[in-house]
C-alpha cells in the first residue's frame, strides 16, 4: 500500500526533525515543545501500526502529563537559554565521536540483517494486528498474566510521587 508508506515516511520525517529540534534549540522551552511534536508523531506511528492502545497512552501520558510537568518546571525555574560556552573543550568533541560511533554500529547491525524476515508463527494479517494492539487484548493480559507486575508499577509510581514531593519541598534544599 502506497498510502501507508507515505504516512510512515511523513511521520518519521517529522519525528526525526523534531528530535533534532530538541537538540539544537537554544531555549529549553522550544526543546520541550519540539519534544511534544516528536511524541505526537510517534503516537501517530503507533496508530498506523494498529497499536491503538499504546498510541492513545502515548498521547495521554507522554505528550500530555509528562510534558506538561516538564514545561511547568521550566516556567517555574524561569530559565533563559544558557550562555554559549567560551571555548569548546574535549568533552563535546568526544561526545560527538561517541555518538557517531553508536549510530554507525546500530546502522551496521541493521543493514547486515536488512530484509531478514522474523519467524512469525503464521503470516500476520491486518485484522490480527488490530486485535493484537487493542485495549481488550492488552487489558486481558495485563490483568491476568502481568497482574503482579502491574501492582509493582503502581507501588513504583506511588513511591515516585512521594519522593518527588519530598525532594521538591523547600526545607530539603
Amino acid at each position: 500500500m502506497a498510502l501507508a508508506s507515505v504516512t510512515f515516511f511523513a511521520l518519521a520525517l517529522i519525528a526525526i526533525a523534531s528530535a533534532v529540534g530538541v537538540l539544537i534549540a537554544r531555549s529549553p522551552i522550544y526543546s520541550a515543545l519540539s519534544l511534544v511534536l516528536n511524541l505526537l508523531s510517534v503516537a501517530g506511528l503507533y496508530l498506523t501500526m494498529n497499536a491503538s492502545f499504546i498510541g492513545v497512552i502515548q498521547i495521554l501520558v507522554y505528550a500530555g502529563a509528562i510534558m506538561v510537568l516538564v514545561l511547568f518546571v521550566i516556567m517555574l525555574l524561569n530559565l533563559d537559554a544558557l550562555p554559549s560556552p567560551r571555548s569548546i573543550g574535549w568533552g563535546p568533541i568526544l561526545g560527538f565521536v561517541l555518538g557517531i560511533g553508536l549510530l554507525a554500529q546500530l546502522l551496521y547491525v541493521m543493514l547486515t540483517s536488512f530484509g531478514i524476515s522474523l519467524e512469525a508463527a503464521e503470516p500476520v494479517t491486518t485484522a490480527m494486528a488490530v486485535e493484537n494492539g487493542s485495549a481488550n487484548t492488552l487489558g486481558q493480559i495485563l490483568f491476568t498474566e502481568y497482574a503482579l507486575h502491574l501492582q509493582v508499577a503502581a507501588i513504583l509510581l506511588l513511591a515516585a510521587t512521594v519522593g518527588a514531593v519530598m525532594l521538591a519541598q523547600r526545607r530539603f534544599a
Binding site: A4, L23, S31, L35, L98, G99, F114, I141, A159
Partner: protein, 101 residues
C-alpha cells in the same frame, strides 16, 4: 504491517542516537532529561514494531510498563533539578560539581 519492520528499527536507531547526542552535548539538566525521554521513546518504537509484526502483545505490555517508569523518572528527575536549582541557582551541569572539591 504494510511498512517493513526494518524501517521502524532504523527510525528507532536514529532517534536513539539523537537522544544520546543530547545527553552527551547539552548542558541544561532539564534538556538532558528530555533527551533521556527521547531515548526511552525510541526503544518503545522498536518494541511496538516487533510486537505488531510478530502479533505478540507482550511487547506492548513492556511498552506500557516503560511509559510508567518514564513518568516516575521524569517526576523524580525534575524534583531533583528543582532542589539543585534552589541551592545553586543554576541548571547548567558544568556548574553543578558538588563532589569535585
Amino acid at each position: 504491517m504494510e511498512v517493513a519492520l526494518d524501517w521502524y528499527l532504523a527510525l528507532s536507531a536514529v532517534m536513539f542516537t539523537i537522544g544520546v547526542f543530547g545527553v552527551l552535548l547539552k548542558r541544561n539538566a532539564i534538556v538532558i532529561l528530555m533527551c533521556v525521554e527521547l531515548m526511552l521513546n525510541s526503544a518503545n518504537v522498536a518494541l511496538v514494531g516487533f510486537s505488531q509484526s510478530l502479533a505478540d502483545p507482550t511487547g506492548q505490555i513492556l511498552v506500557f510498563f516503560s511509559i510508567a517508569v518514564a513518568a516516575a523518572e521524569a517526576a523524580i528527575g525534575l524534583a531533583i533539578v528543582i532542589a539543585i536549582f534552589r541551592k545553586k541557582r543554576t541548571v547548567n551541569i558544568n556548574d553543578i560539581h558538588l563532589f569535585k572539591h
